[in-house]
Symmetry: C2
Subunit: 236 residues, 2 copies
DNA sequence: CTTAAAGCATGATAAAAATCATGTTTCAGG
DNA sequence: CCTGAAACATGATTTTTATCATGCTTTAAG
């Protein structure tokens, strides 16, 4: 079970102005602070499962989370990668649905939970938060629609290159400035690209042979971002 | 150029309670009614183009619209089908982006235009509307993520069956109770499924041979919805 | 009415990607 | 430190899907 971590307040949270709450009124931040529940999830732990009912939203203080569907044939499809400052669990809550995706910690992660009733009531009272929420939803919708188009139209080689760039955008590099700052299995990379694990492995090897990346177990170093962008064949 | 159609008021609009405005306060509906601009778009006419700046949202009074991206290689990907009561143009507006998709009338369509400033200000003042807007965005995000998973994991045969069912859900049947109530070219169907036009044509022929559909030019009759659901291999 | 263009259809072929098979490496738990 | 399972890697094969080619049909413009 998750353990309670050092309680910093929402008022002084390092992620506050990096999150959807950036425009929320102090008064409501205080309310959220009082009712939030903080937890640490170990790598691999599940925050919530597809099919469960949402009881609130999760706000990442530090760490990394993957959100994924399980397709009809049992194959995982990773639909979002989340980091500090991101919230999750809002989609189902706002739609009034059950969760359509599962959330799993990719590393040890500190997370605050905000109860549904509080979140919804603040959303109704604070137009600043509501507007940021709409912006967030719109941005996610945009990303999903672009990804959808690329899935339909681009070959796997291009999609893998794009995925590596996306991982870099999301989690950045380690101190060395070239190693992707997250450890994903080849299977997870494949499930992000939307391909068979073997295909992902094969293409990563090709990328290595082409001098675009360096592979060291789960560590992936980006040697030529320029070449990767070219391989991804992005216009937008 | 579009022509002005019979001005019914927003207050008495047949789509009012079938739209995102269902919970909006009378006061704001009145304001919208005063500033709205009504137009008729002929089949094939463009409401807005990918890359343009949004100046407001469009609200469909009657008719059908397709929203589509053009992929990096010039191929169209249809991302949404819209009908009476739906609004469009909000995604870019809320994100503060330019349009990432183009909107084209699939048949003669009556549309009201609501200026950006008004829509945004009402959104900030009316939590009822804001909440419905969030619900709408969440629902669209959900649909996009499901579609994304299916694009990544399902064979084209299943996706075509699913697309036919989706068209039926969206536009329903004609009076005969079996003919899909929209005319789409084979190419458009392919661009909805995310496949080559020839593949869509070929599979439609197979579906016909299997007795699932009947084809008469652009008219598509669903003979066995049950078989189609089975072919789509849907769990959710 | 006729005719050119667009759309539809279908077969043949090529390319892309998945699956299957097998061996190697890595790593966590005893 | 050992050992079995999982993950990684790579070749061979099969399946899926796109592309190319060609002819037919419908449709809209003159």
């Amino acid at each position: 079970m998750p353990q309670i971590h050092d309680q910093t307040t929402c008022q002084s949270c390092s992620q506050r102005f990096n999150s959807v709450f950036c425009k929320a009124k102090e008064e409501y931040i205080n309310q959220i602070n009082e009712q939030k529940i903080c937890n640490v999830y170990k790598k691999g732990q599940i925050l919530f499962n597809e099919g469960a009912y949402p009881f609130g939203v999760y706000c990442i203080n530090d760490g990394k989370i993957k959100l994924s569907h399980v397709g009809d044939d049992g194959k995982e499809q990773i639909i979002r990668l989340l980091k500090a400052g991101d919230i999750l669990g809002y989609r189902a809550l706002l739609s009034g649905d059950r969760y359509s995706a599962s959330a799993v910690a990719l590393e040890d992660t500190q997370i605050c939970f905000i109860p549904k009733e509080l979140f919804v009531s603040v959303l109704k009272l604070d137009p600043g938060l509501a507007f940021e929420m709409m912006k967030l939803l719109s941005d996610e919708l945009h990303k999903a629609e672009i990804k959808l188009t690329h899935l339909a139209q681009k070959p796997i080689r291009e999609r893998l290159a794009e995925t590596l760039l996306f991982i870099k955008e999301t989690y950045g590099f380690e101190e060395d400035g070239i190693t992707l700052n997250v450890r994903l299995s080849r299977e997870e990379i494949a499930n992000l690209v939307g391909t068979a694990t073997e295909s992902a492995i094969r293409l990563l090897s090709e990328f290595k042979k082409d001098g675009m990346v360096e592979l060291d177990g789960k560590k992936i170093k980006i040697l030529s971002q320029k070449q990767l962008i070219k391989t991804a064949n992005l216009q937008d």
